[in-house]
Point group: C2
Chain length 785, copies 2
Amino acid sequence: MTTATQPLDPEQLRKLDAWWRAANYLSVGQIYLYDNPLLKEPLALSHIKPRLLGHWGTTPGLSFIYAHLNRVIKEQDLSMVYVAGPGHGGPAMVANAYLEGTYSEVYPNISRDEDGMRRLFKQFSFPGGIPSHVAPETPGSINEGGELGYALSHAYGAAFDNPDLIVACVVGDGEAETGPLATSWHSNKFLNPIHDGAVLPILHLNGYKIAGPTVLARIPRDELEALFHGYGYAPYVVDGDDPMTMHQLMAATLDIVVAEIQRIQNDARAFGFDTRPRWPMIILRSPKGWTGPKTVDGKATEGTSRSHQVPMANMTRPGHLEILEGWLKSYRPEELFDVTGKLNAELAALAPHGERRMSASPHANGGLLLRDLRMPDFRDQAVDVPRPGGVDAEATRVQGRFIRDVVRLNPDNFRVFSPDETSSNRWDAVFEVTDRCSVAQITADDEHVGPNGRVMEMLSEHQCEGWLEGYLLTGRHGFFSCYEAFIHIVGSMFNQHAKWLKVCNHIPWRRPIASLNYLLSSHVWRQDHNGFSHQDPGFIDHVINKKAEVIRVYLPPDANTLLSVTDHCLRSRNYVNVIVAGKQPSPQWLDMDAAIKHCTAGIGIWPWASNDQGGEPEVVMACAGDVPTLETLAAVSLLRTHVPDLKIRVINVVDLMKLQPPSEHPHGLSDRDFDLLFTTDKPIIFAYHGYPWLIHRLTYRRTNHHNLHVRGYKEEGTTSTPFDTVVKNELDRFDLVADVIDRVPRLGIKAAYAKQAIRDKLIEHTHYIAEYGEDLPEIRDWRWQ
Amino acid sequence: MTTATQPLDPEQLRKLDAWWRAANYLSVGQIYLYDNPLLKEPLALSHIKPRLLGHWGTTPGLSFIYAHLNRVIKEQDLSMVYVAGPGHGGPAMVANAYLEGTYSEVYPNISRDEDGMRRLFKQFSFPGGIPSHVAPETPGSINEGGELGYALSHAYGAAFDNPDLIVACVVGDGEAETGPLATSWHSNKFLNPIHDGAVLPILHLNGYKIAGPTVLARIPRDELEALFHGYGYAPYVVDGDDPMTMHQLMAATLDIVVAEIQRIQNDARAFGFDTRPRWPMIILRSPKGWTGPKTVDGKATEGTSRSHQVPMANMTRPGHLEILEGWLKSYRPEELFDVTGKLNAELAALAPHGERRMSASPHANGGLLLRDLRMPDFRDQAVDVPRPGGVDAEATRVQGRFIRDVVRLNPDNFRVFSPDETSSNRWDAVFEVTDRCSVAQITADDEHVGPNGRVMEMLSEHQCEGWLEGYLLTGRHGFFSCYEAFIHIVGSMFNQHAKWLKVCNHIPWRRPIASLNYLLSSHVWRQDHNGFSHQDPGFIDHVINKKAEVIRVYLPPDANTLLSVTDHCLRSRNYVNVIVAGKQPSPQWLDMDAAIKHCTAGIGIWPWASNDQGGEPEVVMACAGDVPTLETLAAVSLLRTHVPDLKIRVINVVDLMKLQPPSEHPHGLSDRDFDLLFTTDKPIIFAYHGYPWLIHRLTYRRTNHHNLHVRGYKEEGTTSTPFDTVVKNELDRFDLVADVIDRVPRLGIKAAYAKQAIRDKLIEHTHYIAEYGEDLPEIRDWRWQ
């Protein structure tokens, strides 16, 4: 007989517990065993791995949850994925995938027999094997593990626009202390019960992180429940350590919360969205290293931080081998696997079928579900540029119109993510077709806010990045629009995503996903008003430390090149694309045809700005980025006045990776092509958007590197004018002219006059801005002729 | 008559409101006025600044709080500082500092008269003036503003070990959405009411961030209160928009919470610490842009996101000048300032005296209070190194003993901060003299946890960094111990702190503070067990983008050099010191005398490892970092066997900045010294800890750069062995030998044999680890002879 509080009949209870024991047995085996996987022989030191690595502490709890989720999946034919925040619980996720058969399907050598089990055990945390984390190699995973803090954002990202999916997300109490995780509970204000799926957060309190107690395990229950009530959830507590009692409790709780999720969804889908629902969440309090050794060497182990990693790390100590053998046998493996190592049929039958297995869900291998975006023609947004410099435009505003059309054409698999900067970065056009998303209270004064909005804005770069990653990893598309300086906030998340992509490139069953696209605007050169704290172009430096095969950096100089680059990025797969572009009105250089050609090449001579046709230049003026391009062209214009016979070649770089040798990056120019562009012996004045040394880093192997002189941002800034900001960093037109003059000795007396004129102009500029607070009109209004 | 709910008598109320009006008047003046500061003439366009920049929205709320805090400070002679999370509220903090007189004391040109007021207005967000944020230039500030998210961690950091201080911390509802802020509420589990001061968080809900509504402003009041109850606070709500009503409410609330803070402290200080107190906090809900224009161009402005920045940004539009004039006059400036621009005496008398003024608190200019650390002699911890490579030690474990003694000698102004990695990074010795800090529940199984602990561990790098910054900025000392890969999490916080230090270097009244010291251990080369996600040496690259005058990077190769470097860093001021060091048992190279000499030079030839004495080497083998040093010496050892007559010079780099030209960094070697070390024409094989291109970036201007070949981490990693990890990145001894051979042509046939031997050894290694999971014993146990 079953009841609401005892929902499992004895048979169900026995089987569910057996699955859990099997998962635990396989987990301990992975951590310890080199051989003798079925314990057919008495355990000996030769059966133990030489290095014991892994994390037992969180593992049994993860498997406990897994087993229980499988019951409800199977009973109710649910579509679920499992986000395992405690990434160190790799053994659990691998064990359950193996029990479900998925593991052997994707890795046939890890077969469902004694040999396969031996390999399963050996490969764990072993050279040539698999990491101890939930890693790309783990079927069913969407980039948990490694760095902590992002499980819940990933889970919500996975749930957006997946109405039939329930994302179970286990949050460890260690991870719960991180900032990103602490704010990600608020994601429930952005989840629409009609067209989004559900997230079921399971806070797993086991009391300790590596060494110390956790914050949430040490606050009274009333505070804990108040906290999650405050976060907008209905918390259900499952607390205890006796397995059989806990099974009934967990099963009863899962029945309630799944019913509650369905009630919320059914209500909203039948009657329309009304008010933000109070979604359920589970607080599972169980001992760290549950079912592991109670004591080791006389010290309490189960339930303490001594269970965090390997409870007995030195197996040569007296008694340790016996503890391990007893521990393994406590799971009664002979009831779980037959003599060939095959999982008993009645246990195998507990696994959901096919893609219902969480380890085999296509949502956790998003490339399988990825549909190409329906792409508007970016040429439709082209700015009409009758001649270079002939018109002004705000590049990102133009880009925003293209993004608007992408939003419109892809109403269920494309979203925009931004820390409240969509409008500030000039993508206002998207609000013609959608809103900022919010299922919280909306007031009459709110503009473009609604429960169906596809612009995800929360003032947390972490949340935006985590949502987007979860959305991409489950097979959808998106764009992150951010201030350039503050994208550093997610530098470490970017690291983890780039590493994930790199590893996935070498896992055949992982299918390519859409690229992670960043627009970085409100960039360093136009933070003159916000000042020094808002000026940092270093994210590019950070990005290009990652493997060349997964990263791309673009610095389109105007609107049409930005459109072309944006189109390219949206069609790409498995990259991180960084686009840096300005939002202020600026001269436009290329018409659409020229822009497409220029972006396709990624780098090129601008003949209309050069006067070296048919011969070698005396100086090469290169530029990358919108403001450096403007200053370079203004410098060229000054040089034409002062030294009209000087032969100048102007090169613009859109694709920064073109500068590297092809051995370093697939986009890299051959040395021959590089030399043709940059000459082998002429001075190069390179005006660059970011920190100048990056250009040296990219080009130090090139023939003409010793003639390369780079100007860029060198950490000089305060609240001032746009032009004063470039002057402070010596990237301005006058300093560029001086750089040229200094490097072309033949200019002689002309040069002396030109330098004097420059000095006078800079002094005039300084006086003018101190008085009027604005740039000299002749500088502000300068246009290319 | 006053009552508990109406604590202000009419006179008090009038004056308090007048102060607030004065602050608001000065704030609007800063945003708009170029001239006519006292409105003696009818307002004209010529009185308006040409560029209107700044943030009005949060400003009146900040001033409202300031005025009320002043009342309780003065009435009760409290010591308080004001942390203004909404950093864009610069005008408010500047206005109040000006009203208090502090501003004119530190900037005599901004005098307390009409001329001074004109300058005060003009300088704001004006070239050559001050930023729109609460910036280093703002007296009373400790690094709020700029990037959001860290106000509350800073506040708690300021309160630690400051028993008489109350830190009022205003958290904007925008900032409250960030991850770091969301977790920093939990800081109350780490604040000891006996020897720490108090933090009074004031959550300022004004409903909007730049463009969209905020999360916390749109949840029902029961959820909001539950959230803060769950965070462990007693929330007090002050909600409304009528100034006079709000004054009484706020005053009544402040009386209650200050009494409550004192009761908590008195209880704990009289009777000892018992259980974590429930500290009070205030939720202030008031309109965005409070007291500003109700509508502009027919659109609601006060109370909406249209008040976020400048309510009327285009003053040439009809009616705008009139709105501004009416707005300014609504504060009745003629009642606040006399005709000379001097603040009325009765208002001036509202300011607390001297250092009680929050703008003049020495706690907000920590260098004033900074005491030197009492320093133990680091030589006492020296590892006895009879000959190079003669003993093994765990460098950070040795360092931990020195840190232990620093903790012991400085019981009230030095703390250790770590995301639960103090023990993992081998600083266990500190637990001989102190505990992990926690005022939450402590259980019998906890090790080294106590309410007086000076080790601040929370699994949040943000929190650790924020606490430490707050602690340093208020004049104390500390150390951050972290895993190398995950320090990227605070990359953006580091940016802000480094920028703060750079600006402070040029503000005479800002006194130097203790350096921010990072130990980065569990570094890239010994994350073989945790795998790829834990491998990232790029923080160094990030750090050296910041201004040379504030950053230092050290890579001590062993324990004694680590001790020497640590001592140096703890004595330094106004820097960010990054120390990368290993925690695993490794050969020790230098005895203490040699270590001190080597660290003092920062770079040097190791004669005992070189055989080029008295002549030029044929090859220079340089190394930086413990593992690269080991591999370099092992390579030298192999070369001695295979090509004994090869003249090798070994150079070790401790201070990475030595490599840069002196024009780029004050530590940089002169070109002459560099050439003496590295030769002008011999091949250099450089084994480097991090990404190899960094060494190129630092040295590209050096004479011999074209002969430089760098090995380092190139994003190849997975779970494997330590040696396999260096092999995967070609930093291993065998690849280094091959690099040498490839660059010394005269070696001829010997070289061919040596390369074959290397190839064989690498194959043997690969087979061995695949089978045994450990490195070849001859490699693992290799020792320098």
